[in-house]
């Protein structure tokens, strides 16, 4: 049996009925990593020893008759989430040697149910990018075509899930960084409502936008992970004190009477015809299952990109001020005095994209420009939120492409920052509005996956999951596997 190819749910059934041990499952995943990771370059660090130790602990728990849905399941963690004693680099030279002395809350929660951590996945440095080519170490690759980008910034996690180098993964999403790579790699990815999942131990990029979420092989697995990672955490004061429902209860393949809005602006901005037609086919399929749909307009989403590219770098320039060569990470060898130490450490430690964003953010926040850029962007953010909230007065979900195109070639957009950023045009609004959104595979073009995005109102994860599940259960795109 191809154990590494299993979904979380299928593996859980085998573990629970004692047909397979977590050790066997984990060894199968580690062997898979061994055989394909030189092609996908999904992992920064593979934690084999820890994984096998955790697998044995999981097997003991299962033997005692207590198998939670994630017990013994091999999971990958994006390398911007703190893991105690295990390198957490953010794919940046400035954190090349950083071993946190504490676990992120999500990592703790996975450990509490005896999930197995198989490794830390590659990302665009500090999660800034849409292709994983901005990693300070190496670019990850798309399992469907290793000359193509896996998307980003959670490209390592998406690539690992698609290539069966783990059963599921965690990513983080600031402007699309879970959904766009999930779309490019033909897997399922969800950004929950802002505050649904604790950000404690997630290395901060843009604190008002960042959110952790699952990347999985299907919608059921997304619900299973969400059940474990969601909930209030006293260590993250922005985490929501709202009860966590059992998300698997939303997995009913029934969309009768569900009202779907299709925001026309998000089809207008560079959407490739093959992507538009796959998404329209998806809408029609859902309509065939009893959903109602209508085109709608959310005009201010057209301003999403500039708003995002002011707010995110502004917050980043402040968050990344902590990298000073004093408490952790790199310190330049050329540090004769404190100011030179700061300036040289940051010059040597940060890559080009990170520097560019720190510069933009510093400028947008500086005296004399604050009103014109940062404040203006925050005000337009309000308009965008209102447009989206208004749409949800009429519709249960909004459906768009996840990305306007299928995966682009490695190197193709590196020198064209605007084209690179355009790939986030459909995903950014959910971050700015703080709402949940899921991407599921909805077709292929030239052998590359296309993603369908389903957005729901704040804390509307259940309705997004239900529509995604109904679509998935009536298609087989999620069952297709790349040839590696």
């Amino acid at each position: 049996m191809d154990l590494a190819g299993l979904t979380v749910k299928a593996a859980h059934e085998l573990l629970k009925s004692r047909q397979v041990t977590s050790r066997e499952l984990t060894e199968a995943v580690l062997r898979r990593i061994e055989s394909v990771d030189d092609k996908t370059k999904a992992y920064v660090t593979v934690t084999s020893d820890i994984a096998l130790r955790q697998a044995d602990a999981a097997d003991k728990r299962i033997a005692s008759g207590d198998a939670a849905p994630l017990t013994g399941i091999p999971i990958a963690i994006k390398d911007n989430m703190c893991t105690r004693g295990v390198l957490t680099t953010c794919s940046s030279r400035i954190l090349y040697n950083y071993k946190p002395v504490y676990d992120a809350t999500v990592v703790e929660r996975l450990a509490a149910v005896n999930a197995v951590m198989v490794g830390k996945t590659n990302l665009d440095e500090f999660a800034m990018g849409s292709s994983t080519e901005n990693s300070g170490f190496f670019a990850s690759r798309n399992p469907w075509d290793t000359e193509k980008a896996p998307g980003g910034s959670s490209g390592g996690s998406a690539s690992a899930v698609a290539a069966d180098e783990c059963l599921a993964a965690l990513g983080s999403d600031t402007g699309g960084s879970i959904r766009q790579p999930a779309s490019f790699c033909g897997v399922t990815g969800m950004k929950p409502t802002y505050g649904r999942v604790s950000r404690y131990g997630l290395v901060a990029f843009a604190s008002s936008l960042d959110q952790i979420g699952p990347i999985t092989k299907d919608v059921t697995d997304t619900a299973l992970l969400l059940n474990v990672i969601s909930g209030k955490d006293p260590r993250d004061s922005t985490s929501l004190d709202v009860p966590v429902p059992d998300y698997t209860k939303s997995l009913a393949p029934d969309v009768k009477g569900i009202k779907i809005g299709v925001p026309k602006e998000l089809f207008g901005m560079g959407t490739a015809p093959e992507v538009a037609s796959a998404v329209w086919d998806a809408v029609k399929l859902l309509a065939g299952l009893g959903a109602e749909w209508k085109e709608t307009s959310t005009p201010s989403v057209e301003y999403g990109l500039p708003v995002y590219y002011i707010i995110a770098p502004s917050e980043a320039s402040s968050n990344l001020a902590r990298y000073d060569g004093v408490r952790y990470g790199l310190r330049s060898k050329d540090s004769p005095d404190p100011i030179t130490m700061l300036m040289k450490t940051r010059e040597e430690g940060f890559g080009a994209e990170v520097k560019q964003r720190i510069m933009i953010g510093t400028y947008a926040l500086s005296a004399g420009y604050y009103d014109a850029y940062y404040l203006k962007a925050q005000k337009v953010r309000t308009l965008l939120r209102r447009d989206i909230e208004r749409a949800f007065e009429e519709f249960d979900v909004l459906v768009t492409p996840t990305s306007p195109t299928v995966a682009f070639g490695l190197g193709e957009r590196v020198d064209d920052p605007l084209a690179m950023k355009l790939s986030d045009v459909c995903t950014i609004p959910a971050n700015l509005a703080g709402i949940p959104a899921i991407s599921v595979p909805c077709g292929f073009h030239n052998g590359l996956p296309i993603g369908l995005q389903i957005m729901a109102p704040g804390l509307g994860e259940e309705i997004a999951l239900r529509v995604a599940y109904a679509f998935e259960q009536n298609t087989d795109y999620h069952k297709q596997k790349p040839n590696l």
Partner: protein, 96 residues
């Protein structure tokens, strides 16, 4: 051009980034491109609009003022590039 090369140098200093000449040239181009793109926002009248700094209205999240266990000094210093006597060590700041 909205931002000159000198402006870029000044912003880099504010951000404590020591950029090379080549980086300054490249960034001057990049940043000006983006700023032009941002100009689109000026199309919108936002005089009467409240800014959104956060999507959920959270204010002053308090907890009880009670001491809790914190990290031991050796953990705090575990990642320090240099440390001495339970302190982070940095190049001399004060002239003697």
């Amino acid at each position: 051009m909205i931002l000159s090369r000198e402006d870029v140098s000044q912003v880099a200093f504010l951000a404590r980034l020591e950029l090379t000449d080549e980086e300054k040239d490249k960034l001057t181009g990049h940043i000006n491109n983006l700023l032009q793109h941002f100009a689109k926002l000026q199309e919108l009248d936002t005089d009467a609009v409240e800014p959104t700094s956060h999507v959920i209205p959270v204010e002053n999240v308090f907890r009880e003022d009670k001491a809790r266990p914190s990290l031991p000094p050796q953990d705090v210093l575990a990642n320090a590039p240099e440390s001495q006597d339970d302190c982070f060590a940095v190049p001399r700041i004060v002239e003697t």
